[in-house]
């Protein structure tokens, strides 16, 4: 299909449409609003539901209702709105409901600002809501990936019956690039076994209550087993010039694009820098980062738009095997490639 110039946020809408998402429930917030606006324009053309909910709390509960009814469903928001969705997400995970949430991150805490940040990392990647659950998290760094990963997110959500996040930032949401639209799906997995849907009605129960202590423990262990299988099977990442790298830079989202430029500048100066970009943040590419030392990497620099959230996972993965540093910018600022290269020179005397 033809390539179309579009915003990352619009690309996410197309990803959802092509994935057979039949309902969008959301509440506006910059820099994610174009997702709601795009859905408002496109979904009615296909008799699909677009509804501007009264709040992010309502939106995620509508997602719960649609998902429990066996529909592919999505919502999107940013920082403050994601915070409000946490209880509902916990219910979705606790009731094993597949759904997709796009988080286009902005500056925090509090009202912060609308510039790009990555400070929702902990609340999204570590679970965020109450109870023992995880979100699967995909981190696109281009408009094409906003489309493709949103589509993929629906498959993963179905495969694991769990919320899946597309976690990105204001830069990727707001920028435009050429996007090649994928073909619409021809098949959506059957959910009649567990969903409340169908004629005659499947009298199923969507529920997260387990009054019996042992029942709830068993359910938590089942969830844990699911997340371990996710860790085994769904790790995704991308490398750029890592094979002979002495210094690895680690970053995701818009930062990983800047880091690519940093790597090129460094190489032009003869400094062997390589880029490691986690694509899934949960599951995190732990083994791949743990293997850095064996591949000849000597130093690891994590760059993020948060004051040390991603780096925690990098350090857990490294298990102390390598010197690890952090460089961050926040408040809506994005470091330039040269700024990061200067930091590398300073830190490592290269």
């Amino acid at each position: 299909m033809a390539r179309t110039l579009m915003k990352g946020n619009h690309a996410a809408v197309y990803g959802a449409v092509m994935a057979g998402c039949t309902a969008y429930y959301g509440y506006p917030i910059t820099p994610a609003s174009e997702i709601a606006e795009g859905a408002a324009e496109i979904f009615p053309k296909l008799n699909r539901t677009f509804l501007q909910a009264e709040s992010e709390i309502a939106a995620i509960n509508m997602v719960y209702g649609a998902a429990g009814s066996g529909r592919r469903v999505m919502t999107a928001s940013s920082g403050p709105g994601i915070s409000l969705k946490m209880e509902g997400l916990s219910y979705c995970a606790g009731s094993a409901l597949p759904c997709v949430v796009v988080d286009v991150m902005r500056g925090g805490p509090g009202l912060g600002n609308i510039g790009p940040e990555q400070s929702d990392y902990n609340q999204v990647v570590k679970g965020g809501g109450h109870g023992n659950y995880r979100n699967l998290v995909l981190a696109p760094n281009s408009c094409q990936e906003m489309c493709d990963f949103t589509m993929l997110a629906f498959d993963l959500a179905d495969r694991y019956r769990n919320p899946v996040f597309v976690l990105t930032d204001g830069v990727i949401g707001q920028m435009m690039e050429a996007v090649e639209l994928p073909k619409p799906v021809t098949h959506i997995p059957d959910r009649s076994e567990w969903a409340v849907c169908g004629t005659p009605l499947n009298k199923n129960l969507i529920n997260s209550i387990y009054l019996d202590l042992d029942d709830l423990e068993r359910w938590n262990m089942a969830l844990d087993a699911k997340y371990r299988s996710v860790k085994e099977n769904e790790v995704r990442y991308e490398e750029y010039l890592m094979d002979d790298a002495k210094i690895a830079v680690v970053g995701y989202g818009c930062v990983s694009r800047v880091l690519r430029s940093t790597v090129e500048m460094a190489r032009a100066r003869g400094i062997k820098v390589g880029l490691f970009r986690p694509i899934t943040l949960f599951p995190f590419p732990e083994k791949q980062i743990r293997a850095f030392a064996d591949r000849g990497v000597e130093k690891v620099l994590t760059v993020e738009l948060s004051t040390g959230q991603l780096v925690d996972d990098v350090n857990l993965s490294l298990q102390g095997t390598l010197k690890s540093d952090l460089y961050y910018r926040v408040g809506g600022n994005v470091p330039s490639a040269l700024e990061i290269l200067n930091r590398i020179s300073e830190l490592y005397g290269v």
């Binding site: 309902a23 296909l46 719960y64 510039g115 435009m176 009298k203 408040g331």
Partner: protein, 479 residues
């Protein structure tokens, strides 16, 4: 305890309460004298009589009725505290041929979920709401509810509800009745047989309407809570009669059952061919322009475009990116937004290159298009040595300070004014860019104009075509 024989349960109840843990799968978890059980029975009977058992989805709230799903035969959702109307909204939209019941307590509906019930009612969602007003939080042990009466002692109003600090009881039926959309609004009570009969009628009306998909039904039910009120069941009946009725008058507040029209929701389009057709994506509209020869210095462009808001800065950038895409380049466009967006100035970054694009912001551009003086002053400093600066000489009366860049003063605003429409400035800029870089042929840009100005008439397209030429020719003739 002696085992009693159940003569016959309404068919709307399950025979065996299979979801209920423990051994007692034939009786409810409600306290003796509680009103929930009576209301459950009235609903279950109506489900049987209206023949909707196989089409009913019940939403259980958080509160004493959290376990409503134990008892009813139907599809079930147990949902977060207060959110039943939001969940119900999506359930009814996903299952437009089903009957959706939202069963809620007064803490659930009137406190934590107050906004959700208002908004769902206001949208006229196809939900039948049964609202149990027992003037207290039963589940959590008798705390104050929004419906708690003045002076009523609860565990969180140990000195009695004080209107000065806690407000007065919320009358939800009256509030819902203020809205246009609801079809049926009633307040009934369970405190004696005559009123139970009226409750039965209201339940049936609500469910009959739901069966016909006639929008939003709201039945508020005054109900006893002996455990929460710390009174005997018999005293509770009296307490409703004497204390609650004066504050919560009974009756049908609205009945538009006859006039209401059924909600119809068409099936979503999912068939791939139809999806593409409805979205106008069946044909490949890409043009695939052939590239001319482009000088080495312009083969990989990092462009900053800046000016006042209203000068078409964003669209200049988007047009450059769109045209470049048709020549087969990788492109990116990034608007200034967030902390960058201050003081009525706007800027955007465009990258055009064959390699994968890294950082999208043109931090060190090799091309700046400056539409006003502050933009030129700000961004010429960021340019790489040897880069090209196109500036709007109509508004910028000074020369650039950098001498290691190529400067192209173009009277962009002036040329637009000569064409009679200042709004074509952005397209004049695109024409100038094409001439400086040799990257685009003006006729290719012009070919794409109808796409940029969708829905605009021919005279506007022609005007913009002249603007492309004006910018292009000015550069060709003067540099």
């Amino acid at each position: 305890m002696e085992k009693k024989t159940v003569l016959r349960k309404p068919a709307g109840f399950l025979d065996v309460y299979k979801h209920k843990p423990g051994a007692e799968k034939d009786r409810t978890h409600y306290c003796p004298g509680c009103g929930h059980g009576i209301l459950h029975k009235l609903i279950a009977e109506a489900m049987e009589d209206l023949e909707i058992i196989d089409d009913t989805i019940i939403i259980s709230p958080v509160g004493c009725s959290v376990f409503a799903y134990y008892y009813f035969d139907g599809g079930h959702f147990q949902v977060p505290h207060g959110r039943a109307p939001a969940v119900g909204t999506a359930v009814s939209r996903a299952n437009p041929d089903k009957i959706v019941i939202s069963y809620q307590g007064d803490g659930d509906l009137a406190a934590i979920g107050g906004n959700n019930i208002l908004q769902a009612a206001n949208r006229g969602e196809s939900i039948a709401v049964f609202f149990v007003n027992n003037a207290i939080y039963g589940m959590t042990g008798g705390q104050m509810a929004p419906t708690t009466l003045e002076g009523q002692v609860t565990t969180t109003t140990p000195y009695g509800r004080n209107p000065a600090t806690d407000g007065l009881p919320l009358r939800m039926a009256e509030i819902i009745n203020q809205l246009e959309a609801p079809t049926f609004v009633a307040r009934v009570s369970l405190h004696n047989p005559a009123n139970i009969r009226k409750t039965r009628a209201a339940v049936r009306q609500a469910l009959q309407n739901a069966k016909e998909h006639k929008g939003f039904q709201f039945v508020e039910v005054l109900s006893m809570c002996p455990s929460g009120w710390k009174q005997t069941p018999v005293n509770c009946l009296k307490w409703i009669e004497e204390k609650m009725l004066p504050i919560f008058p009974l009756g049908t507040l609205r009945d538009r059952s006859a006039e209401a029209t059924p909600v119809v929701r068409p099936e979503p389009v999912l068939e791939p061919g139809k999806v593409l057709e409805k979205l106008g994506l069946t044909e490949d509209k890409s043009r695939g322009f052939a590239r001319g020869t482009v000088a080495e210095e312009y083969s990989e462009m990092s462009i900053r475009i800046a000016g006042f808001g209203g000068q078409g800065i964003m669209s200049t950038g988007q047009i450059l990116a769109q045209v470049a895409m048709e020549y087969g380049y990788n492109v990116s466009w990034l608007p200034s937004y967030g902390p960058e967006m201050r003081g009525g100035t706007a800027n955007c970054s465009v990258n055009i290159q064959d390699d994968t694009i890294g950082g999208a912001e043109a931090v060190s551009p090799n091309m700046v298009i400056a539409m006003n003086r502050p933009s030129m002053e700000k961004f010429e400093k960021t340019m790489v040595e040897g880069g090209s600066l196109i500036y709007n000489s109509t508004l910028v009366e000074i020369s650039p300070s950098r001498t290691d860049i190529k400067a192209f003063p173009v009277p962009i605003t002036g040329l637009a004014n000569e064409l009679g429409d200042i709004r074509v400035q952005s397209v004049v800029g695109v024409g100038a860019y094409a001439a400086v870089t040799g990257m685009f042929r003006p006729e290719d840009i012009i070919e794409m104009l109808p796409q940029f100005f969708k829905g605009k008439n021919k005279s506007i397209i022609d005007l913009n075509a002249s603007a492309v030429r004006a910018g292009y020719d000015y550069v060709k003739n003067n540099f």
